[in-house]
């Protein structure tokens, strides 16, 4: 048990460090110019040197756009799913559309939203709301139907109201689906906010920094931004996995 847990961490760590060392060696050995691919050590130095800029970009993109957008989008998707659950007609009408929209290239709405909500963070947050709404809607509707007939009959025989059934049976049963949507949304939110910045932004933000530094061939700065984005994304995802384990401890996939 302990041994397998150690290898669970050790193998990927060894693999990752190996890739970094290989990267460094290739860049140094073949003399790859820094405008093509900077070495990991160079990226690290740049990251440390430009922490204040990175922090400002982080606040603009993540704190102002990603997190509020993710919360509003997921919450409204969930509320509409509840509404669909109460009104079957609405569910039958909205769900096929929701499935369709979930497959569409929604990032294309970005220029329209920038036009509507201006260059600053509200348009990015709106983008995130639009991107996160549909995965939550589709998953939450599926989740609310996940509880079995026997369990629902039991609640009925207790004389439980719709509200009690929801809180005590159907919401817990829907949690794996909801967390799945939250995890999908965490990556979509980062993408949405950054892509929306390509269409116009004040002079801060991760997407803005990436596109301008690419133009100036400052690739070490671009990679530093990418590192921040990757760490943020992974931490966000990891936090959700941790919460999921706490909330859905009863689920078969977590049984020892």
């Amino acid at each position: 048990m302990i041994r397998s847990r150690i290898t669970d961490i050790l193998y990927p760590a060894v693999f990752g460090i190996g890739v970094l060392i290989l990267w460094e060696l290739i860049v140094r050995g073949f003399g790859v110019p820094a405008v093509l691919l900077p070495a990991p050590s160079g990226i690290w130095a740049k990251l440390i040197a430009s922490l204040p800029i990175l922090w400002v970009d982080f606040v603009q993109t993540v704190i102002r756009a990603v997190i509020p957008g993710w919360i509003i989008g997921s919450l409204s998707g969930f509320l509409v799913a509840l509404l669909c659950d109460r009104i079957p007609f609405l569910r039958r009408g909205l769900l096929p559309l929701g499935n369709l929209v979930a497959a569409l290239p929604i990032v294309g709405v970005a220029p329209i939203l920038v036009m509507w909500f201006g260059f600053d963070w509200p348009s990015k947050a709106a983008m995130v709301v639009v991107m996160t709404f549909f995965p939550m809607l589709v998953n939450a509707v599926a989740g609310l139907q996940a509880s079995g007939h026997l369990e629902r009959d039991l609640m009925r025989s207790y004389g439980a109201s719709w509200w009690q059934t929801l809180v005590k049976l159907r919401l817990p049963a829907a949690m794996p689906f909801i967390f799945n949507a939250l995890k999908i949304n965490s990556t979509l939110a980062m993408i949405g906010a950054i892509v929306a910045e390509f269409f116009g932004t004040p002079i801060v933000g991760m997407g803005f920094r990436i596109s301008t530094e690419v133009g100036r061939l400052g690739l070490d700065m671009v990679w530093a931004e990418i590192a921040v984005a990757a760490i943020t994304g992974s931490a966000f995802y990891g936090l959700l996995v941790f919460l999921e384990r706490r909330v859905t401890f009863w689920h078969p996939s977590y049984r020892k």
């Binding site: 294309g108 709405v109 036009m115 599926a142 390509f198 596109s211």
Partner: protein
């Protein structure tokens, strides 16, 4: 491996007779859209309406036919689509079909490459514990990186290496769409039951025989489910790949030009065209799925 990002939950079992509710919801959306166009376009149309003397007919005429609206009315988008698809020769840069083809070609190349990479990775992961343990966390982590944000860099760097046009865009599509295929295929290749694997063992089947005769056929339904997700995000990748470099052709380029010059109707038309493409691609994969499964003897 609990749940994977980018793979949505399976839709709830299809209920019969969804046509009426779907039509009703669509009609509602259209109504809200037309109604919303009036207040949203007021910034642009307000002075004109007052100059023309107002009145309900004046409001409607101006709000729904503004050349540079904040929110174009649906019929304006339909007109623009009709104009740029049917009245212009498909090889002219003004034709939306031309732009669609540019985006579609890089989507398809990226989709094929990404699916092959995804299947190859899945086969490697299924056969090697070391790879499963060391690669899997990184494959998942790779998707938490907003790759679409790196797209400009990938394109500029590849461009300076001499790759321009199709290849860099399809590389972005490939990076996006290998992931659902890998996750789905690992599940699919692992899906044969222990008794079936034991049977292959009693036949003294080699690893490759087990792979081709048992694991691969068992994984086909999983493969197609992943391919549907993959083809949709491959298209998104291709569109976004066209944004940062100021590409001159493609759906993404149309979006960008529209946003530079304030051509709202053009943006919406490009958006709808992209949506049609996505729906068509997913539908095609669905058709391929049904044909393949029927050939394999699966009863519908």
């Amino acid at each position: 491996m609990s749940a994977a990002p980018a793979i949505a939950a399976k839709p709830v079992a299809r209920e019969s007779g969804n046509a009426l509710p779907v039509t009703a919801v669509c009609l509602c959306i259209l109504l809200v859209w037309y109604a919303a166009a009036i207040p949203m376009n007021w910034v642009v149309t307000g002075p004109k309406i007052e100059a023309a003397g107002g009145g309900l007919s004046g409001i409607l005429a101006f709000s729904w036919n503004e050349a540079r609206p904040v929110l174009p009315a649906p019929h304006q988008i339909a007109q623009e689509l009709w104009k740029s698809v049917f009245t212009v020769a498909p090889w002219m840069p003004k034709s939306l079909l031309y732009h669609s083809w540019v985006t579609l070609s890089s989507t398809l190349l990226g989709f094929v490459l990404g699916s092959l990479l995804g299947v190859a990775l899945a086969i490697a992961i299924v056969h090697s514990t070391f790879l499963a343990k060391s690669l899997m966390p990184w494959i998942i982590a790779s998707q938490t990186i907003p790759i679409l944000a790196i797209a400009p860099m990938v394109i500029v760097v590849l461009g300076s290496l001499g790759f321009t046009g199709l290849v860099p865009k399809s590389l972005i599509s490939m990076y996006l769409c290998f992931f659902p295929v890998t996750i789905g295929m690992v599940k699919g290749l692992m899906s044969p039951e222990t008794t079936q694997l034991d049977l292959m063992r009693t036949y003294n089947a080699s690893t490759s025989q087990v792979l081709w005769k048992l694991r691969f056929p068992a994984s086909v339904p999983f493969l197609f489910t992943s391919l549907k997700v993959a083809v949709a995000i491959a298209l998104t990748g291709a569109i976004v790949g066209e944004l940062p470099t100021g590409a001159i052709a493609g759906i993404g380029a149309r979006l960008l030009q529209g946003s530079y010059y304030g051509q709202t109707v053009q943006i919406w038309a490009a958006l709808f065209m992209g949506s049609f493409l996505a729906a068509a691609l997913v539908w095609l994969v669905g058709v391929a799925e049904r044909v393949t499964l029927r050939r394999m003897g699966v009863k519908p």
